[in-house]
Structures are given as C-alpha cells and as structure tokens.
Amino acid sequence: SAVISQKPSRDICQRGTSLTIQCQVDSQVTMMFWYRQQPGQSLTLIATANQGSEATYESGFVIDKFPISRPNLTFSTLTVSNMSPEDSSIYLCSVEGQGATYEQYFGPGTRLTVT
C-alpha cells in the first residue's frame, strides 16, 4: 500500500480564517479522496480529486468552502475556507489501491480546531 503523509498534523485556527491541508503520496495515483470526520463520528466523503480535472464534490460540500487542488499524481491540497467552530474535525486524505477493487488507503489525518 502507498505511504501517505499530511501536513499539518493538527492546527488551531481562528474563525473566519482559512487553512490549507497538504496530502503527499509516495507513488503516483489517479484517484485521491478527501474526507471529514467530525468528533465521535464516522467518515464522510467531501470530494474526489483526479489529476488534471476539477474535483467532484459530494452533496453538502461546495468548492467555495472546500477548494481542492490536484497539481500532479502524488499531491493534493484541501483548503477549509472562512472557518467556523463547526468545521472542527479531522480531515483525511486517501488514495485508491492498486488492485481491481475499491480499497482506499488513508493518511494520518489533520486535526483542526476552530476557536
């Protein structure tokens, strides 16, 4: 499986500001995914990011709030814009596996607290 890193690992931000989270993979992958995990809850998909195309957002998530970049096959960023306390969550990136199934491998996550 791929080795995935995220920066920052955690941050405390003031409301109204924005934070950009980076996701780096040690191998080239076509599909990257961004998830949100609110305190005490499961994972919710924010968007799917393919290199060379616009990210595809899930219902309830919009590009203005969560802009995503995917400049190459090993890197992606997620920005959380105009933050409010409700954005306090763990943000996780994942990549598709190399097999014929839909398994995904996850980074360690970025723990965001908005005050």
Partner: protein, 113 residues
C-alpha cells in the same frame, strides 16, 4: 490522544477472547465491503475486504462474514489482543458509487487485560 469514537457503540472483551463486530448496510446493490481499524490519532487502516460473490473471507486472525440476505457484515477477531483496541468501521461500495466508499457508524473495541 483524543478518541474519535466518543459517541460510538462500544464492545468490551477480555484479552484472549474472540471479538465479533457487526455492521448493517443499507444498499442491496453494494458489491464490495471493507473493514478498517482506526487507532486514536491515526487514519483508518485497511484490515480485510470481501466481494459480494463470497460469504466468508479469512485473514490473519480476522474473518469477515457477509450475509446479503439481511444486509449484514461482521468482523471476527480471534484471540483479541490489547493492540486490537481501536474504532472499527465497515465501508461499502458498488458500481453505482464507482470507486467511492460509504462508511458505517463505527464500533469501539476495548480489550481488557
């Protein structure tokens, strides 16, 4: 570190016993299922997967059972160890979802020594 499973159901087992973690899924069209383990402060870790054309698959100390009739998935962990303490999530996918996964609610497993 802070647990992500504060509001999730909890299963407590004695070290050495077998654990069974259950998951109900909603989409009868789902044809691929995964179990993930998430330790505190870490991202989910792939444990085992199963396709819908199987009803059982075994790994190292883990077995996944799939009952499509009642849309139920279970993860069995043999000889549970303290290192198995974590939050466990099931996830499903199907052709309609493409390569996206839909995650279940999660279960906290606590192993008592």
């Amino acid at each position: 570190g802070e647990s992500v499973g504060l509001h999730l159901p909890t299963l407590s087992v004695q070290e050495g016993d077998n654990s069974i973690i259950n998951c109900a899924y909603s989409n009868s069209a789902s044809d691929y299922f995964i179990w993930y383990k998430q330790e505190s402060g870490k991202g989910p870790q792939f444990i085992i997967d199963i396709r819908s054309n199987m009803d059982k698959r075994q790994g190292q100390r883990v077995t996944v059972l799939l009952n499509k009739t009642v849309k139920h998935l279970s993860l069995q962990i043999a000889a549970t160890q303290p290192g198995d303490s974590a939050v466990y999530f099931c996830a499903e996918s199907n052709m309609e979802y493409g390569n996206k996964l839909v995650f279940g609610a999660g279960t906290i497993l606590r192993v008592k020594s």
